[in-house]
């Protein structure tokens, strides 16, 4: 990748450097229009990271995401030591298999003093690509006001250590939460159970939703799962209990009715065991990394009505428990 460093950090300065970057890349290719460089952009992706975050790992995740979601990526790193802003621009390029032209996305890396991070939104707003979605991936626990520049903010509420954060999410804004995204495989398995009309008949008779979790308190994902299930089984009571084994935050789900239960639970390794109507099956339940989680969230740039509804209920469940 090619890079340029800007002496003064203003939006105009950064945009000028980006333009110069494309010109220099075109010159490098000798003006070959047929197999030159192709600029691709479908959104602006702003990543807000703490100083302690592994920048290399974030960079790798972003690079992987670019291939399906080519973006202007802006990586903002907060620094305790730095007292002034600094920025550099570069491009991330790859050559799709079988093609002879590179596809390149713009990347801007900004290092901002931790104390002044609240000044970032006015800097970031002019840097977003017009007419395309702008997504903030907030890897911190700071919940910045992204109203001015992001159409959607993605957080990971598990980082906050408490479900209190759910109350702080403004209802009028669009959010994604990786704690919710991690549940997609579980939710898919449960949804699968009730594609069977015979199983659907049991829904009104389910009296309890039991969610097993690891760790001391109920994780946010546990509240999300309880809220989501209760929306489909309103008469059932949600209870959480701690399990000793298992590496996942959520380890098991039981939907109990008088004569039996439906259950999904994580067993050894990366496998889920499903029990329904006396039939036991197993399927893969591989762990999900940041790339996999973000890929799912970036595919939904607008509102997710099911998540929005679940968020509201989960916040209430957390308050009550």
């Amino acid at each position: 990748m090619s890079a340029q460093t800007t002496p003064g950090v203003t939006p105009d300065g950064i945009l000028k450097e980006l333009a110069a970057l494309w010109v220099s890349m075109a010159k490098d290719k000798g003006g070959d229009a047929e197999h030159g460089v192709l600029r691709a952009c479908s959104m602006t992706l702003v990543v807000l990271a703490e100083e302690s975050d592994d920048v290399g790992e974030i960079g790798s995740t972003v690079a992987e995401l670019m291939q399906e979601f080519p973006s202007r990526a802006i990586l903002v790193r907060l620094s305790r030591e730095q007292t002034a802003l600094s920025a550099r621009v570069y491009s991330q390029c790859w050559m799709p298999f079988g093609q002879r032209r590179q596809i390149c996305c713009e990347q801007i890396e900004i290092v901002a003093p931790e104390k002044g991070w609240g000044d970032l939104p006015p800097l970031l707003a002019p840097l977003t690509v017009p007419d395309l979605p702008a997504i903030l991936w907030d890897r911190t626990s700071r919940l910045p006001d992204a109203t001015g520049f992001a159409t959607k903010s993605i957080i990971d509420s598990e980082r906050f250590g408490s479900a209190e954060v759910l109350k702080r999410l403004a209802p009028e804004r669009i959010y994604g939460d990786l704690a919710w995204t991690r549940l997609t495989q579980w939710r898919g398995l449960i949804a699968q159970l009730f594609e069977n009309r015979a199983h659907l008949e049991f829904l009104p008779r389910i009296t309890a939703i039991e969610i097993g979790h690891t760790g001391e308190g109920v994780p946010v994902s546990g509240y999300y799962l309880g809220a989501w299930l209760q929306a489909g089984i309103p008469q059932a009571k949600v209870v959480w209990h701690r399990e000793e084994r298992g590496s996942a935050c959520v380890g098991s789900v039981r939907l109990v009715y008088p004569e039996g239960e439906f259950s999904v639970r994580q067993v050894e390794g990366q496998t889920a065991e499903i029990l329904a109507g006396g039939v036991v099956t197993r399927t893969a339940l591989p762990p999900r990394n940041d790339y996999s989680l973000m890929r799912e969230e970036l595919a939904i740039p607008g509102r997710d009505p099911i998540f929005r509804r679940t968020l509201a209920t989960a916040a209430q469940l957390a308050l009550q428990s």
């Binding site: 291939q67 079988g98 009730f194 496998t271 889920a272 039939v279 339940l285």
Partner: protein
């Protein structure tokens, strides 16, 4: 007391996961065959691994060989482990999946087989709660389809508590009359909505990409007609020969094997009218309408509008490659068309007068499938007599790398006004992060979900045969001067001449 039961699954989340598959049993006729071992069972295992199969899902394998359920499971375990593509073989997942595999031995024409099958399905329905949903997959020679469908019907297996679907693979007949005859046999017991004809060439993603491009944007559809389009070229080229399947291919040929079904489907997708909805039957209605609008050649039009070719030996990449007639299992005097090209016209207001050139062949220079839409040139060049005046081209690439390119003229940077063609790509292909499903995974899932988008309807099959019938009749019994193109070339000279007569040239992809 009125018992209230939810009518719909309240846990679906279409934004996050694909629709869950309902419980069903898949009965595979020909369970001991290659297709089952190499494609069907690995695909089903993979779907199970991906958490998309219902817990009560079951497979019933059928063939003449006597074996127990456990023996069948062991055989399938070996096959899946061997033929699984790009996926890990997980023992835990396999062991659970294997419990859903069952086997019934018997002869296709023996009523006793169907009685046993009926008993097995009843048992599975009760123990695994499949709701009586069954797919009958006829993985066998097409000549047995009618017999199998009728025996299923006589045994009452075409109906039950749930849905019953019949899945068959191409070819659907070898001409219009045989296609109609086959259809009549299938329809004796299975209604058309329950007959799924596999003829996948355009993957679902590709079909959807073309439809999204055409009907998701406001700027292209106004140009998509005879006023702006000069002609359309549809190419399906293979660089390989018959690869040991000479005996089969000898009976088929490029016209039957590729143009009658696959390329006419491509043409229908590109040329169809917008459908009212995106539901499978809406889309198929419009594709069928387009196929029925294709001008049926009169006998005296065939010679000028259809070309047959057969590859001869050549030296490619430093190696001698045999001609078709030298391939294993091929008659040295075979009249099979390994290359076919045709000019079609669509008799409707949108496309009247616009030639659709369609070609397919083996042993062409490269493997490529694409649709090239050439637009009319600008009416006047204001840039001088010597100015570049290449027409605009929109290329929809199907394989090897799926994408869309638009070629247009732009000014060369610098002094003067020199125009040069440039290409803008709109689509960058699929993500490298996630594994794409195999065609059989997609097709099996679609059959279970009842999504017929990729499956051919009978009216589409018949329309396809009707279009090529005049060509088949003209070519039948004719002694061609074969071979008429060298392996590794772009086909016979007559094919170039067919376009040249209209002032057109085949694109070199």
């Amino acid at each position: 007391m009125v018992k209230l039961m939810p009518l719909e699954n309240p846990f679906q989340d279409p934004l996050r996961f694909e629709r869950r598959v309902p419980e069903c049993a898949v009965v595979i006729f020909g369970a001991n065959g290659d297709l089952t071992k190499r494609k069907l069972l690995p695909a089903l295992y993979r779907i199970a691994y991906e958490r998309r199969l219902a817990p009560g899902f079951a497979v019933v394998g059928i063939s003449r060989t006597e074996m127990s359920d456990d023996q069948f499971r062991e055989k399938m375990r070996e096959s899946v482990a061997q033929f699984l593509e790009d996926s890990p073989f997980d023992e835990d997942v396999w062991n659970a999946f294997a419990q859903s595999l069952f086997y019934v031995a018997g002869d296709l024409n023996d009523a006793a087989l169907y009685a046993s099958l009926s008993a097995k399905l009843k048992e599975i329905e009760e123990s695994r709660h499949t709701g009586g949903n069954v797919i009958f997959y006829l993985s066998m020679q097409p000549s047995y389809y009618a017999a199998a469908a009728q025996e299923l019907g006589r045994a009452g297996l075409h109906r039950g508590n749930g849905w019953r679907r019949l899945v068959v693979e191409k070819p659907f007949g070898h001409d219009l009359a045989s296609a109609r005859e086959l259809s009549a046999s299938l329809h004796e017991y299975f209604t058309e909505p329950n007959v799924y004809r596999i003829d996948h060439y355009l993957g679902k993603e590709t079909v959807q990409n073309i439809l999204a491009f055409r009907f998701g944007n406001g700027i292209f559809e106004p140009l998509w007609n005879r006023r702006y389009v000069n002609h359309v070229q549809i190419t399906a080229a293979e660089s390989i020969g018959v690869e040991g399947r000479g005996a089969y291919y000898q009976e088929a040929g490029a016209l039957r094997d590729m143009i009658q079904n696959h390329l006419l489907q491509v043409m229908a997708t590109v040329a169809m009218e917008p459908s009212a909805t995106f539901r499978p039957d809406s889309v198929r209605d419009e594709r069928s309408k387009l196929l029925r609008s294709i001008h049926i050649m009169k006998p005296d039009e065939v010679a000028a509008n259809a070309v047959a070719g057969q590859y001869g030996p050549a030296r490619i990449g430093g190696e001698d490659v045999p001609g078709f007639r030298q391939e294993h299992g091929v008659d040295p005097n075979a009249q099979t068309d390994t290359y076919a090209a045709a000019t079609f016209y669509v008799d409707n207001w949108r496309w009247a007068g616009v030639p659709f050139y369609v070609r397919s062949g083996k042993r062409l220079p490269k493997r490529v499938s694409e649709i090239a839409i050439q637009f009319n040139q600008a009416p006047l060049s204001i840039f001088g007599d010597g100015a570049e005046c290449a027409p605009n081209l929109l290329i929809l690439r199907i394989q090897p790398d799926e994408g869309i390119s638009l070629k247009f003229l732009s000014k060369r940077p610098g002094e003067g006004m020199t125009l040069r063609p440039v290409s803008m790509d709109f689509n960058y292909g699929s993500s490298f992060g996630e594994r794409s499903p195999t065609p059989y995974e997609t097709l099996l899932l679609d059959a279970m979900l009842g999504d017929a988008t990729l499956y051919q309807r009978q009216d589409m099959v018949e329309a396809g045969w009707a279009v090529v019938e005049p060509i088949q009749q003209a070519w039948a019994g004719r002694q061609f001067e074969f071979p008429n193109y060298a392996a590794g070339s772009w086909g016979p000279a007559e094919s170039d001449a067919m376009l040249a007569r209209r002032g057109h040239l085949w694109r070199r992809p």
